[in-house]
């Protein structure tokens, strides 16, 4: 690393998952009543970056691609201790699949420059693909370490040691910087924002908004137009419990337990898993 550590955290703003409902008629998501939040694992990525800054100094930048209403959320994240935020906001970015999303984020990271560590969340609660972080790494030709629980510098400070989760346990990777990380959800406790800092931020707004014209990319590579995949159909609502009986068993706890017992043993018998008499 040459000079101070510069971390950049990719934050995606998503509708709060518990407030999104599905319209069974139109088979679409009703986000109308859902408030927005920063994708939860991205907050863990931010906390990891801030903890590195506490320990090693340096600065933390934030990057988000989304509509203008994302800006206040970036300010709240800045109030936790980050230094600068970049918001990529343009209709041309809309409808991007993972190829176009990662291309756009990578182009912004290149323009911001001098980034040692890019930190993402492990996956987004709405898209849930986990493919953007490796995509960013590929566009920037940087090494990647996904599903990270923790990160530590080695003595030279030009490598990091990352403990990450894999299918059958954990592995420790030695990763040269600059690198792209994705961080496991709830691996740390994101800190509270500092309200004094928030007030000071209002006076001296560190959110830079860029449109497509600010990035050095072919406009044809952005958004829906630049996405090789497209949605060809919206199917019915899967598993939203449409086929479930939703029968309520009522009574005292003992009566409820008894009803449950009867229903469960009857079900097991009919499912060919007979409950053996005692």
């Amino acid at each position: 690393m040459n000079g101070e550590l510069h971390s950049l955290v990719c934050l995606k703003v998503v509708p709060k998952s518990e407030e999104v409902s599905v319209d069974r008629e139109s088979k679409t998501l009703d986000r109308g009543h859902a408030r927005s939040e920063i994708n939860p694992p991205d907050m863990n990525a931010l906390e990891m970056a801030l903890a590195l800054k506490d320990r090693h100094g340096g600065r933390v930048s934030l990057l988000s691609m989304g509509p203008p209403f994302v800006a206040p959320m970036l300010r709240a994240a800045l109030a936790m201790g980050a230094d600068h935020a970049y918001l990529l906001s343009d209709r041309a970015f809309g409808g991007a699949d993972t190829l176009a999303t990662s291309l756009t984020l990578a182009a912004a990271i290149r323009k911001i420059g001098d980034v040692d560590l890019v930190l993402c969340g492990e996956e987004s609660s709405d898209g849930a693909t986990a493919q953007v972080p490796p995509g960013i790494a590929a566009w920037l030709d940087l090494p990647q370490a996904t599903y990270a629980h923790s990160v530590a510098f080695d003595d030279t400070r030009d490598h990091i040691l990352v403990v990450r989760e894999v299918h059958d346990g954990e592995e420790t990777l030695d990763v040269p910087l600059p690198a792209v990380l994705s961080v496991k959800v709830s691996t740390n406790e994101p800190r509270f924002m500092d309200t004094a800092r928030l007030v000071c931020l209002r006076a001296n707004d560190p959110v830079t908004t860029w449109t497509a014209a600010d990035l050095d990319v072919d406009p044809g590579h952005l958004g829906g137009a630049g996405s090789p995949t497209s949605v060809t159909g919206l199917g019915e609502v899967a598993g939203a419990g449409s086929g479930r009986r939703r029968e309520v068993l009522k009574g005292t706890p003992e009566e409820e337990a008894h009803l449950l017992y009867e229903r469960i043993t009857e079900f097991l018998r009919s499912a060919g898993m007979p409950a053996r008499g005692g």
Binding site: S17, E18, K27, L29, T98, L99, L103, D126, A128, T129, A130, Q131, P134, A137, A138, P143, Q144, T146, E165, V166, H167, G169, E170, E171, T172, D174, V185, S186, H221, A225, S227, P228, T229, V231, T232, G233, L234, A238, G239, A240, G241, R244, R246, E247, V248, L249, P253, E254, E256, A257, H258, L260, Y261, I264, T265, L268, A271, M273, A275, G277
Partner: protein
């Protein structure tokens, strides 16, 4: 639009990335092979398995008997441990040479790492975490079905002009078949050049944990945050029913169940006959993991809890006395055992 690495007209065949570890093929690879065979027999495509690693003779011999038409083996010392960079480098080289039409990978940590990186270096589209795969009757395109918000909505996604058409599939989504070849499929060893610079990352340690596999358990008793402090009771119910224990993420985060028992979007997709869900609110990220259950029983003290929308039998009550009485009933009658 970004120029494709090669065009649909140049592309042929269905490829499945065969993930393996310690000499064992990943279950998800076998599950995908079964689905890929179904697609291949519809389109007449040749089904190829892609095996990458180092010192692969034993596993290649085994893989050649799977239900595939040919096995491509890419062996190199720098592929000894999985790293996304070296694997993507080598896979890209092979794919540009062989030009498959479709490439399927498991949505495991390694599969997703490789897929996300490879799709960008091949400048192609990737449909991640598919819940189903089919071929469009009209044009033969691969259709990937994906769900957003943990199953709240389904979309069908296609990649019209870029090849390969890449998709990942979560473990447990497809059923594997026992189909095997009597005679081994032809094995083609492909040489790749991997410069040391293509493997910047070193795996310095690996800590394996014994992991329970609840994806195929018949019966599950699931602990949510509402069962906090009641784990012995949950264990007693699971014991009485000979069920495996599953958990929501909150329970896992609080450390009273192992991560291998987490059900849902970032956990396991389960297929039980019976799931008894104790004190879970029913977030879609959780319920996507029990959607396939035949019978869902939900206990929750909050009548408004969304879990009741997803359940067959609902008990709106404090779970503690109900589960205690239920356990007593099973124990006194000795029923519930398989």
């Amino acid at each position: 639009m970004i120029d494709p690495a090669y065009t649909p007209a140049e592309a042929t065949g269905i490829w499945v990335f065969l993930e393996h570890d310690r000499g064992q093929l990943a279950p998800v690879s076998l599950e995908m092979l079964a689905k890929a065979r179904e697609l291949a027999s519809k389109s007449g495509a040749i089904l190829t398995g892609l095996l990458m690693g180092h010192e692969l003779d034993a596993i290649a011999g085994e893989a050649a008997h799977l239900d595939l038409d040919r096995l491509v083996v890419v062996a190199h010392p720098l592929l000894d441990a999985f790293t996304a960079e070296a694997y993507a480098h080598a896979a890209r080289e092979v794919i540009l040479r062989e030009r498959p039409d479709i490439l399927l990978l498991g949505a495991t940590p390694y599969g997703r790492d490789l897929a996300g990186r490879l799709a960008v270096t091949l400048r192609t589209g990737l449909t991640a975490d598919c819940t189903d795969l089919s071929l469009d009757a009209a044009n033969g395109l691969l259709l990937g079905e994906v769900s957003g918000f943990g199953g709240g909505i389904l979309a069908t996604i296609a990649c019209a002009n870029h090849r390969p058409q890449m998709a990942t599939v979560r473990p447990g989504v497809f059923a594997r078949t026992e189909a095997e070849r009597a005679a081994a499929a032809p094995i083609e060893r492909v040489e790749v050049d991997i410069p040391a610079s293509a493997r910047p990352v070193t795996v310095v340690a690996r800590h394996r944990q014994e992991r329970a596999d609840i994806s195929r358990a018949d019966r599950l008793v699931v602990a949510g945050a509402g069962a906090r402090g009641q784990l012995p009771l949950i264990e007693a119910l699971a014991g009485a029913l000979h069920a495996e224990i599953g958990a929501t993420r909150v329970a896992v985060d609080e450390g009273w169940a192992g991560r291998d028992r987490q059900i849902g979007q970032t956990g396991v997709i389960t297929h039980p006959k019976l799931a008894i869900v104790c004190g879970a609110s029913g977030a879609t990220q959780f319920t996507v993991g029990i959607d396939q259950a035949d019978l869902v029983v939900a206990l929750n003290s909050d009548p408004e809890a969304p879990i009741f929308e997803q359940a067959d039998l609902c008990v709106v009550d404090d779970l503690l006395p109900v589960v205690r009485a239920l356990v007593a009933e099973f124990e006194s009658r000795g029923e519930g055992a398989p």
